[in-house]
């Protein structure tokens, strides 16, 4: 009877071992990819979260800016009005002063005429 060759003897065992090896490698590779994907998703979520926070903060800053600019406009307007009023008051005072001076001069002239 012919003796079996090495290949005939161990073919099935080798095939089984190779199958196991391939499946195990697939399992490890799959897990690696899955974990990589999970880590990537985590990073993406973190990025989205930080972007949201940045957007919210910039919106708040914008609102604050609008609020301050409106307030400053009002303040400028009020200041201008105040200045105008003060100018008016000054003018009135000047007028009054001038009138008084005139009156005084008139009185002086009248006094001189009387003398």
């Amino acid at each position: 009877m012919k003796e079996k060759s090495f290949f005939d003897k161990y073919m099935v065992s080798l095939a089984v071992i190779i199958c196991f090896f391939v499946v195990s490698a697939g399992l490890v590779f799959g897990t690696h990819k899955l974990l990589e994907y999970a880590a990537l998703q985590k990073v993406v979520k973190e990025k989205e979260r930080t972007e949201k926070i940045i957007c919210r903060n910039s919106l708040l800053l914008l609102k604050q800016h609008v609020f301050f600019s409106e307030n400053s406009k009002k303040a400028i307007k009020a200041a201008k009005e105040k200045e105008e009023q003060e100018k008016k008051k000054d003018k009135e005072k000047d007028k009054e002063k001038k009138d008084e001076d005139k009156k005084k001069e008139d009185n002086k002239e009248k006094d001189k005429d009387n003398e």
């Binding site: 161990y10 099935v12 065992s13 080798l14 089984v16 071992i17 196991f20 090896f21 499946v23 195990s24 490698a25 399992l27 490890v28 897990t31 690696h32 974990l35 999970a38 880590a39």
Partner: protein
């Protein structure tokens, strides 16, 4: 024997570390902190359970000459998977445990359970045996970790137990301390086992006497 008895037996009466004295190297080297012990115990339990399943399911398909190699490939693959998961979820503790996570693949407890038990037994007993062996190993590691960390460093899972840097027994964190504690636990386990066996014997003797009296 009921299938669930494989689980309970492996926790006390046939504990892999305390009775079979297997897996002592990681048990002593890693249990300096409770978290490391917990991580290694969980890793071993998962590898044991996951490897037992394909090993017992395919025991009729795998030819006799390829059994050992196939089982080693299965165990190595699951160990690699567990290591990757641990690295991504608990990087700091995994770094602390270090080489002992990949060494689960050559742990004699795992090899004996998968290569010795799973290839000769049906699915359910194998699963219970894997779960029980892993749980027994995990319990011993946690217990040792808790005792060594609290006694040697005054902390538990990183949180300090006492005010200041007080430690009860710094010797506990060292390797001789680990061996000493392991021997104490083994002695305690042996004592408990002896007591339960005596109780069982007494019960059976009483039953026989009652049967004799009634007959």
């Amino acid at each position: 024997m009921n299938d669930h008895k494989f689980f309970t037996k492996k926790i006390l009466t046939e504990n892999p570390v305390l009775v079979m004295t297997a897996g002592i190297c990681p048990a002593v080297a890693v249990t300096e902190s409770a978290s490391s012990g917990l991580l290694l115990g969980c890793g071993t339990l998962l590898v044991l359970f996951l490897s037992s399943l394909p090993a017992t399911l395919m025991k009729n398909i795998i030819p006799e000459k390829a059994v050992c190699a196939s089982h080693m490939i299965i165990i190595a693959a699951f160990t690699a998977v567990i290591q990757m998961i641990f690295y991504s979820w608990f990087p700091q503790v995994t770094e602390e445990v270090g080489i002992f996570i990949p060494l689960i693949a050559v742990n004699c407890i795992v090899i004996e359970s998968v290569n010795g038990f799973a290839r000769n037994n049906p699915v359910l007993p194998t699963l219970f045996n894997g779960l029980g062996t892993g749980t027994g190993f995990l319990l011993v590691l946690i217990l040792m970790g808790i005792i060594r960390e609290s006694m040697g460093e005054g902390t538990l899972f990183g949180y300090s137990l006492f005010a200041g840097d007080m430690t009860l027994m710094p010797f506990a964190v060292l390797l001789p301390g680990g061996f000493f504690l392991l021997s104490l636990l083994a002695a305690l386990n042996k004592h408990i086992n002896r007591k339960t066996r005596q109780k069982e014997k007494n019960m059976t003797n009483n039953d026989r006497e009652e049967e004799k009296i009634s007959s």
